[in-house]
Symmetry: C2
Subunit: 386 residues, 2 copies
């Protein structure tokens, strides 16, 4: 089978860009990825995005971004799966290169969140849920997370403070990431006294929605130019799995089946077990999802995911480092772009370019993004080439 | 290379479904396609859709439709390229099957247009254009078509009546299609006296936006069950090509380069010339696009596309039949679903199931859908299996 590699990566710092357009952010990330890939030319561009239609009134991003990036004529289209849009775009880019018809594919995650404010954006984000049965009643993604967190606390007899570790690790890691939105570590005390957003979800349990753009240039391995100044990273496992869209349709809402199966499939394709990876870029849009993701992936027993955070197992030197450059929580959550950021960060780790946050000897990474309450889960295994 | 075939097709009649939800329409089309494919099970579901986020406040359609169709757990994602969304979804489904990782993929086109009315929907449709430089000034897709039509009439000295043939053929063909929105032929006199919508675009120059859902089950040819009661159709050529998003960025606005290149690439992959196809399901959202599509595909010289309609060359017994079951004009234009309807109709022709509209001896079809002013063009060549 053709080897598909990440020949180049690019990102812009995540943040609030009130004065920068979606197209400008995306073009910056694309230019960086193309430069990083030593000028290798893309044949297609797949855009992971969720909000452009509702927030920026713009569809047809494939044509827009190919055009604006000076790549007019390229195959281009948008891929959407709510918060898993970036991961889904990687998946389709990967399949395209594997098909043999596309040798090089740009995968771009872009989200312009700050074109609007308030209820309009909340409503747009709630489209990741079942609009007819959930969002219509006013349920937001934060409210869904609160339901899950409350249920978790009830089922397993866990206090709210037990989730602190996820936020502490994420913010500590973000402090050293120049592309992160938040660069300051937080204290356990700060977590404990943070105001509730949707009780029991507090300010530090929820990743901040933000603007951002990141890009990967995927390529057949035999198309990678000689003399690159960095390693290339292989994609050895890839999957998308869905679950019920609505949370209330699940007999066991804490199971996050799609998240679990997506890890299982991606690892099975890569010929590894989840524990064989050296780091896990998980989808910590809310700390409850971080805990559940660790459990459903098999790194902790059910009801025990929070212990990994409390016991230092998810830190950079822990058994299974997560959110190594800040995760959604510390780096920021550019919704449909988040999955591409996660892959860029995993690639930095595997290339040995993660600076102060380098996971020693990292050779394999698992990357997962979730859309809705893990209604769509995309997972990829990335490996160092040699 | 793996042969990718259309093992099953399904569609619901195009129309206005004020009392039927997006999910119900889509599930009907999916069930019909699965039944048509003799129960072959899909492994993935790719949804072509443009308007769900803006009109129905629903994203994450992959999870929604897999769940609602009783296919929970399947790989699922949405593919968007404005009016070319359906064609783009076919392209990505095709690449997925070619990749070797997905054996069977449902491609669903679905559009629920009637959840809102008036300016909100006009504005949603205008997202196919450059929002920052075109739509913001009030330009709608109909206004873009009017600019192109006016320019065409000016450049080539053509009167408005010269476009009548496209609408006459489309409506004549739709009369025999039980899934078409309009079942009545129109007369040349009706065309001549029709009111202007955006001068010179009149009522019969513009396809009606509508609701609809259509589905294809794509499969590796070796996965097709024995004993199907119909032929299977191969996909032998596939492409997506982009152009500038904004019309004003093109030195030659009547060239529709993306449309031309997409035909060239799809035919080249299939090892044929455009003239080797027996019918052309072109994107007649406006009659000017029908004329230009014939020209850019090479069936007519520039400025002469309208003559093919006037001279009977695009009728069912003509040199190059188009819109054989009514096209967007007569069957209706369910925007992001249109590309899948076009492929379903081409498959009916190649299977010999087009009833009164059967193109005699049809063995090869070209299908093209356009997003924005042909800013994205998707083209596929379909061929009868044996």
């Amino acid at each position: 089978m053709t080897d598909v590699v990440i020949a180049g990566i690019g990102q812009v710092p995540v943040g609030e860009y009130w004065d920068v357009s979606l197209r400008s952010m995306a073009v910056s990330a694309i230019q960086r990825a193309l430069k990083d890939a030593g000028g290798l030319a893309p044949q297609a561009i797949y855009i992971g995005n969720m909000l452009a239609s509702t927030v920026s009134h713009q569809a047809n991003l494939g044509a827009l971004l190919a055009d604006q990036a000076g790549l007019r004529g390229l195959e281009g289209t948008t891929v959407e799966a709510a918060g898993a849009s970036g991961g889904a775009a990687i998946r389709l880019g990967y399949l395209a290169v594997l098909s043999g018809l596309v040798d090089t594919a740009l995968v771009v995650g872009v989200e312009k969140y700050t074109d609007q404010l308030g209820p309009a954006v909340e409503s747009a984000l709630a489209q990741s849920e079942d609009s007819d049965y959930e969002a219509v009643h006013g349920m937001t993604p934060a409210a869904q997370a609160a339901l899950l967190m409350r249920r978790y606390m009830h089922e397993y007899g866990v206090a709210h403070d037990c989730f602190a570790g996820f936020s502490l690790v994420a913010h500590a890691n973000a402090a050293n990431n120049p592309n992160a939105m938040f660069r300051k570590p937080i204290s356990r005390e700060a977590y404990a006294r943070a105001e509730d957003l949707v009780e029991p979800v507090n300010l530090f349990d929820m990743a901040p929605y933000a603007d951002g753009a990141a890009a990967l240039l995927l390529a057949r391995s035999d198309r990678v130019p000689a003399g690159l100044d960095h390693d290339v990273v292989r994609i050895t496992g890839s999957s998308i799995v869905t679950d019920t869209l609505a949370l209330h349709d699940r007999p066991d809402p804490l199971a996050l089946n799609a998240a679990g199966f997506s890890v299982e499939r991606a690892c099975s394709q890569a010929g590894i077990l989840p524990e064989d990876v050296d780091l896990f870029e998980l989808y910590d849009a809310f700390s409850i999802y971080a805990a559940l993701s660790l459990e459903t992936a098999g790194f902790a027993r059910r009801g025990q995911g929070w212990r990994m955070a409390e016991e230092g197992q998810i830190g950079l030197n822990g058994r299974m480092p997560v959110s190594t450059l800040g995760g959604l929580k510390g780096r920021g959550n550019p919704v449909g772009a988040a999955g591409v950021y996660q892959a860029v960060e995993a690639a930095l780790q595997l290339r040995g370019e993660a600076g102060k946050n380098q996971v020693d000897g990292a050779r394999r990474a698992l990357v997962q993004s979730l859309g809705g309450p893990a209604s769509t889960a995309a997972a990829h295994v990335l490996e160092k080439m040699n």
